[in-house]
Symmetry: C2
Subunit: 215 residues, 2 copies
C-alpha cells in the first residue's frame, strides 16, 4: 500500500483543496509542519504514482485515485474519533492525536465492521461528516457564526479549528454541537459578538466566531 508519509500528504492536499482547485507547496508544508523542499520531493513521487496531478511551480491536486485514498483515511479518522468519544468516553478535545495514528490502520474490513458496531454514525464528535464505505458523503461547507446577522438564531454544527485549546474553550462555555444560539449584538470595533445560548449570554471574539460553524 502507501506509506504513512504519503497518506498524510494526500490527506493534507484533500483538506486544502476545499477552498481552491490547486494547492501550493507552501500550504502543504505549513499544514504538515515540514519544509517546502520536502513537499516538492514528495509531490514528484505522488505524481509518479498517479495519486496527484502536479506541474512544477503550479501546485498540486488529487487524482481520483489519490482522492479515494484521502477520503478513506478521513473515514477512518472520523470513525475512530467517534469510537473514542462514544465508547471509550474521551472528550472531544482529547481524541485528535490518537485518531491521527489510528487512521493509518490499513484494514478496510476492520473499519467497516467498526462502522457497523457503532450503528453507522453520520458525523464525528466535531460535527464533521463521516464518509460511508464507498467514500460517499455530503461535504457541504458550513457557515461560521461570524456571518450570522443580529437577532438571527442558528444551531452549532461544527468547528473549523480542531485544536484542544479551542475545543476546551467551547466546552467550558457549553458551545457544543447541537446547541442553539442567538446573536444579540455585533461590536463594530473588533467584530466580536454577544450571543445568547441555551445556557447563558457570552461575548465571543471574531476568532471564535470564525471557527465556530453553524447550519
Amino acid at each position: 500500500m502507501n506509506t504513512l508519509a504519503e497518506e498524510n500528504y494526500l490527506k493534507s492536499i484533500y483538506h486544502l483543496s476545499f477552498d481552491a482547485e490547486t494547492v501550493s507547496t507552501n500550504q502543504i508544508a505549513a499544514l504538515l509542519n515540514t519544509k517546502a523542499a520536502s513537499v516538492s520531493d514528495m509531490l514528484k513521487k505522488l505524481a509518479d504514482k498517479e495519486l496527484v496531478n502536479y506541474a512544477k511551480y503550479q501546485g498540486a491536486s488529487l487524482t481520483p485515485a489519490g482522492k479515494k485514498i484521502a477520503v478513506s483515511i478521513i473515514r477512518k479518522h472520523r470513525l475512530w474519533e467517534y469510537f473514542l468519544v462514544e465508547k471509550l468516553n474521551f472528550k472531544w478535545d482529547e481524541v485528535h492525536d490518537m485518531a491521527e495514528e489510528m487512521e493509518h490502520i490499513s484494514s478496510t474490513e476492520l473499519i467497516d465492521r467498526l462502522d457497523k458496531f457503532m450503528g453507522y454514525p453520520r458525523r464525528d464528535p466535531h460535527g464533521d461528516p463521516i464518509p460511508d464505505s464507498n467514500g460517499n458523503f455530503k461535504n457541504h461547507k458550513l457557515a461560521p457564526v461570524a456571518t450570522v446577522k443580529v437577532n438571527a438564531s442558528c444551531v452549532i454544527s461544527g468547528v473549523s479549528d480542531h485544536s484542544p485549546i479551542f475545543l476546551q474553550y467551547l466546552e467550558k462555555h457549553k458551545l457544543t454541537i447541537g446547541k442553539t444560539i442567538n446573536v444579540i449584538d455585533v461590536i463594530e470595533y473588533d467584530n466580536s459578538m454577544i450571543i445568547q445560548t441555551e445556557d447563558n449570554k457570552i461575548h465571543i471574539s471574531r476568532d471564535v466566531a470564525n471557527n465556530l460553524l453553524i447550519i
Copy 2:
C-alpha cells in the same frame, strides 16, 4: 518514543526469551523475516538506548526498561485481538495481522480505557494471558497435547502457532479454547494421536499435538 522497528525487535526478543536466557541474532532474524546483519545493527542501537543487554557474538536479552516496553506492546496486541473478536466479530484466525498494526498505537490511556470497556479480559482469543496496566500477568507455560498420556483428559487452553492455517484447522475440528479432550491412543510410528473431543473423535498429527496447548 520508540520507532516501529524498535518495538518489533523488543517484542521478538521478549517472545524468544521464553525458552532461553539469551537470544541469538539468527533467531531474531528468522522471527522478523530479516537478515542477521540488520539484527546486529539494531541490537547495537537498542543497547545504546539501554533497552537490551548485548555483547558481540553473545546474543541479547532485554533490560528491565526494554522488557517493560515489550510487555506493553503485548498488552496492546492482545487487548486489540480481544476487541476484534468480541466486539467486531472477527474470527480468531483473522485478527493477528490487524493487531500487529494496532499494537503500535502509542496512547496507554487509550489502551487502559479499552481494557475497561471490555471488562478487563484476562486472556486473548488464543488463550494468551493479557498483562494488566502495570504489566503484571501470569505467563506460566502451558503443556502441549503431545505430552498427555493415553486415557488422560485435559482442557484446550492455548496454541503455540498463531498462523491462520493452523487456527482454521482447529476451528474446523472444533478444537477451540475451553474444549475438553481425552487422549484415546498414541500411534508409536509417527507419534500422531487419536483424541476424543466433546463433539467427535479425531486423529491429529504430531505437529498439531505439539502446537495445541492444555492445562
